[in-house]
Amino acid sequence: MSSGSSSISAPPVGLGNQPVLEVTDLAVRFTRRGEADTRAVDGVSFSVAPGETIGLVGESGCGKSVTSLAVMGLLPKRNVQVSGSVRLDGQELVGADAETLRGLRGADMAMVFQDPLSSLNPTVPIGTQVTEVLLEHRDMTRKEAVDEAARLLDRVGIPDPLRRLKEYPHQLSGGMRQRALIAMALSCSPRLLIADEPTTALDVTIQAQILELLRELVVDSGTALVMITHDLGVVAGLCDRVHVMYAGKIIETADRHELFARPRQPYTGGLLASVPRLDSPRGAPLTPIRGSARDTIAWADGCAFAPRCDSAQDDCLTEVAGSTVELVPDGPRRELRCRHPIEYPPAPAGATAPGAAR
């Protein structure tokens, strides 16, 4: 079932525009008896091509992680309703049986989590945890698996891999743990890798190393990478295409350079403006987005971001109550969900500073 032979850097199959992952109208509802349903993810669609990196960006609670868990089929069965379609290389995953999904996970799609310490079992040596995945998905003897595990650790830049294999997670540094987890995720050269805030728990220099490692691996193996993050620095350094999420919906989609140069959704503009800048005057206050992610209205009543939006007008809230603001095409390779987007003079594209948008 694994696509992997012994060589990891096999050329990606079908380098055409056939996407590895196609998510269409994905919705996740948490149902609880006696309470109103929570729509954590609400009609999200995106696709990833081989070797491409996309970013899912948004603040805590906007549905990024639930989206990724839904794609991997890792959401609990009870009290959760998943609808829409998730296709991995054309194979439908929503509603697929548990055993099929388990066979795909680790082999064709893998995930790296946020906290590298708690994602490793503290009572089991690193080596056992890496070989476990190899033995599960690839036809290997234990001896071969150990050799392969050492090779994998070496590949992600862990020195002295044979010794490290015998060690326990608490004996490794944070960066090394995350490298080990990436090695595990990539052990069967998956077609799709989802990284859920892989650098949040690490310090800045290690963050840079891990991001560089991920970039190299994606380029080498043609893996499709989905980066889930709230860190715009990560997006700027790594992602080809960015989807900004708010309250369970994608509100703006654009290529990286376009998004940073000309954010159209006021929320995206706010996110970019709130990043501390080295070239701002000393002592200048940061520009936050007012309110918090809890100040939303239902998408069915208009725009969820409207209560916090500076450019919100009456028709964002009251006049069109009962109708959602649609996600519409907005220029080449751009999509936007906003009635009153930030406008730019038709003059040269790079003329407007993103920070000035608000």
Binding site: L74, R102, G106, S119, N121, T123, V124, K166, Q171
Partner: protein
């Protein structure tokens, strides 16, 4: 200038080599080994271990250590109501109401008491863990059914439960062990289930799932090993309670029907009749029970600390 630089560089290399050198046996210290190493440094653990090992040695070598036959009735002629011989020459702790050597009976009694404690605890741990794994691994209705059953067992006072079972199974020492084991089962089942449920939602279980590891492998390879340490600790503490409970049951007359076989609880019960005139007859076996229980408790407490991953370095 260059000489200075060379010296400095050599010094730095030296320091780096020293810092980088891995101390013997540091590469991959397993959980049990590091716990054992920490136990050896803990004075409380050492005291507990010394007590427990002493009693184990005494029990093992009872035939060689006991100065006399624990069943032989001597000085019968001198024993009359109201006149129980106390300490006398050749009998370090005196004799009981039937003229049997107290010290020899205590030494032989350690066998019986420790065996009941160990066997019933092992039995309780094994059965309790089976229930705990069942409930913790499957969850859902299996969990509900198993746990309600365990709750019912738990709601009956343990001594009452043990009494009913030993009455039910007839009076022999195996019935006693089973009775004590049954009262231990719910504790271990609840404990293991609780810690497995907590571990099942942990990040590494999710990460293993995300890598397509089989469910059985996640339960037995990841969740169970991480849930065991409270069970191990509770087992050492339960050993102490089991010994006390065994003594309590024999005290109530539900113990070993072979009255001749020395056992601390039975000795205590026996001494009750003479408590006002010869209190030491009760003090000796009681002291043994207390000290053994203390030894196991101390060991268990420090084991809890040693196994806690938060203290690992």
């Amino acid at each position: 200038m260059t000489a200075m630089g060379d010296v400095k560089r050599r010094r730095i290399d030296e320091l780096a080599a020293r810092a980088g050198a891995v101390p013997e046996g540091e590469g991959g210290v397993s959980l049990t080994r590091s716990a054992f190493r920490r136990l050896r440094r803990d004075p409380v653990a050492i005291i507990g271990a010394v007590i427990v090992i002493t009693f184990l040695v005494v029990a093992a070598f009872a035939p060689f250590l006991a100065p006399r036959d624990p069943l032989a009735q001597t000085l019968l002629s001198e024993i009359r109501p109201g006149n129980i011989p106390g300490a006398r020459e050749g009998f370090p702790l005196g004799v009981d109401n039937l003229g049997r050597d107290i010290l020899s009976r205590l030494i032989w009694g350690s066998r019986q008491s420790l065996m009941i404690g160990v066997v019933s605890t092992v039995l309780g741990v094994v059965v309790g863990m089976a229930f705990g794994v069942l409930a913790g691994a499957f969850g859902g209705w299996v969990d509900t059914v198993v746990m309600r059953f365990i709750d019912i067992v738990l709601s009956i006072p343990s001594l009452l439960m043990a009494i009913s079972i030993s009455v039910l199974l007839g009076q022999n020492q195996y019935a006693l062990m089973i009775a004590i084991a049954v009262t231990q089962v719910p504790i271990f089942a609840r404990l293991l289930r609780g810690s497995m449920l907590a571990q099942r939602n942990s990040d590494y279980a999710l990460a293993a799932q995300a890598l397509g590891v089989k469910k059985s492998r996640i339960v037995f390879g990841h969740v169970l090993p991480n849930s065991l340490s409270p069970v191990i600790v509770q087992a050492t503490l339960s050993l102490a309670t089991a010994i006390i409970e065994a003594a309590a049951l024999s005290f109530l007359g539900l113990g070993d029907p072979d009255l001749a076989r020395p056992e601390w609880g039975a000795m205590l019960a026996n001494a009750q009749a003479f408590l006002s005139i010869r209190p030491e007859l009760a003090v000796y076996p009681a002291l043994c029970i207390i000290v053994v229980a203390l030894g196991f408790t101390l060991l268990g407490e420090s084991l809890r600390e040693a196994l806690d991953p938060k203290f690992r370095r």
